[in-house]
Symmetry: C2
Subunit: 193 residues, 2 copies
DNA sequence: CGCGTGATTGAAACCCTTCAAGTTTAGTGG
DNA sequence: CCACTAAACTTGAAGGGTTTCAATCACGCG
């Protein structure tokens, strides 16, 4: 819970006292690599904060192909907002790419935190808007960039992830085949070295 | 202002009295086809509500190609949330595809409306989440569907727009060339008829 | 050590784009 | 309201980027 506390203190100016109150609404969980937190068709009613480790959300399309939607390393949240807010069955799977330590909470936590802290409310709003910005950026990237540029963009934005995530998952995130990513990297390695 | 009023009454349960207060913070504007409301590099500080007509937001990529980001027909909002909230220069152009009648307001309007109406606050939150949902859907579509399926999906979701928007703009929105869309439509017309 | 997962590489196939030309449609001014 | 022009749409052919399939290689873990 320490990492989460520090995060909320720094990012949302949540005070010691406020946190002591809020932490009653949150739980801790450790999970092993490969374990699932959410499966397609289930209604997602939890939000996960990663204190340690690495999670991912992905969906499986009609052709059975995986599309990775989000990676969540330390200090990131992961959930299916549509599912949680509109009470809809989720289209996503969430599982752990590494042994992870999580904080788990639900919508009530957000509501309560927003009620007792104006700065949290503000921070939460910014999170939402940043989410939109990031989704928009990804759309622009899919619309306007080829495989190579998409990969370069990914490395620039999420360099630390490139070291922790298997290459084929990055390919899946970028919407290209693992083979293509391999070829892109080969081409780039000639230039970089 | 009547359309806007009715919209807020229905969707966000804004009362007559509340609206009379809020409308002081909003302006009306009529613009001709082709007129611009926002250009790349400008900071966007306005939110537009379309009472009548049709707007579009698009960006121009490094290769000079247009990518349409959003269409906004009657009863839709359009803005650049990133620009407005974080005070950043916008990457988008917003212009009118038809002669349009708009309501214009800024962030203060949203803040005031949220302050005086819990239901508006709730509705605004839902709008944000729906926006995320729609962006996510578009990403999934770009990652998983070919030109034909993307077009079918568009027609299903925005049928009325297909009648008002030039074909090459729909192609731009879908991330395919106008020629490809033409061929897709030809292929489909054989099946449908 | 061996198995399995991930990465690489090549060749063929495919979808889509680009370019170019022709046709249709829509808008404008006389 | 017609005539003219520009814009939008269509169609064909060639080319490019990416995928797919298949085989091989590298490596970490039990």
């Amino acid at each position: 819970m320490e990492v989460f506390k520090k995060y909320l203190e720094e990012k949302a100016q949540v005070t010691n006292e406020q946190f002591r109150h809020l932490e009653k609404l949150a739980g801790e969980k450790k999970i092993a690599k490969g374990e699932y937190l959410l499966r397609q068709e289930e209604v997602c009613d939890k939000i996960y904060f990663v204190e340690k480790g690495l999670l991912r959300a992905y969906k499986v399309d009609d052709g059975g192909k995986e599309h990775i939607n989000q990676f969540a390393p330390e200090n990131w949240f992961i959930t299916d907002r549509s599912s949680i807010l509109f009470n809809l069955p989720s289209e996503y799977f969430i599982d752990a790419l590494e042994k992870s330590e999580l904080i788990i909470f639900d919508n009530d936590f957000l509501i309560e935190a927003s009620n007792i802290s104006a700065s949290f409310r503000e921070y939460n709003k910014n999170l939402l808007h940043n989410h939109i910005r990031q989704l928009q950026k990804r759309i622009d990237s899919l619309l306007g960039l080829n495989a190579e540029k998409r990969y370069l963009d990914f490395v620039e934005t999420y360099y630390n992830l490139t070291l922790r995530v298997p290459q084929w998952m990055i390919a899946s995130y970028l919407g290209i085949s693992p083979e293509s990513l391999s070829r892109v990297r080969k081409k780039l390695s000639v230039i970089i070295k």
